[in-house]
Symmetry: C2
Subunit: 151 residues, 2 copies
């Protein structure tokens, strides 16, 4: 990993610590570690992939170890779960409420998060027209990314 990349990750971890501190949430060593693993991964990672990496330095880590950390990180809006892939990615924008949409490339597996307010609003209105009160929208679009499309 490049020094530059490491610096970015360190900054993201720092921002996460601050966000948690502001909320009174405890970003413990374990949770910090798991978030670090997700930030380091290039692309979505599954819970068991994370568990394997975690085990390298934390003997005795077991599924509940990782799932509890993931639950925490999701609750703090530091990561997202991709339901289609049963995998996890960092939020592009740490710690805020934000309407996220994901673009999943079927060729290369790359996942891009976008944050399109027009689409989010359209969905919200569509739901409200049914008398529905939306809390959270899962939007995962499968297709072909620009790079795979124009090879």
């Amino acid at each position: 990993m490049s020094a530059e990349r490491r610096a970015v990750i360190a900054a993201q971890l720092g921002a996460a610590s601050e966000a948690c501190a502001r909320e009174g949430a405890r970003l413990t060593e374990l949770r910090h570690r798991v978030l670090g693993l997700i930030l380091e991964a290039d692309g979505p990672v599954t819970a068991y992939q994370l568990l394997d990496r975690l085990k390298e330095t934390r003997r005795g880590a077991a599924p509940p170890t990782i799932y509890r950390a993931l639950d925490f990180l999701i609750s703090q809006r530091l990561i997202h779960k991709l339901e289609r892939l049963n995998a996890f990615v960092p939020c592009i924008e740490t710690g805020h409420e934000h309407a996220a949409q994901f673009l999943i490339c079927r060729q290369c597996g790359t996942v891009t998060e976008i944050d399109d307010h027009a689409a989010a609003n359209a969905l919200e209105h569509a739901a409200e027209r049914e008398g529905f009160h939306p809390r959270r929208a899962i939007v995962e679009i499968e297709g072909t990314c620009a790079l795979c499309f124009h090879p």
Copy 2:
């Protein structure tokens, strides 16, 4: 189940048969049966719930039995999979390509399918602005349905 409800289901099964016939797809007895079970269910059903029901009349049914039937029904656009729930529901409109969105009530578990073109288009455009070529959008909105909200 009411006679009326049974009649609706029979009509849906008939429409499915026709749609498959048009496509040259084989809606075998097993697949017809599984589609029937999904139509009869009031709400999303999981693969293993379907398997249990199937077993009542089909000794030896096993997970692959049901998953293969589900794959077929999805490929024919007769059912949808809800990724959030790992569960299956019938399509509201049999056999067509259609952009579907789902409203999932956290209180009562009811799932409503809507088909909002404005939202679908907004998503499509958002993806295309990234140079992405969308094939399929998974949209599942969690929240509170009208009935649960105004009790």
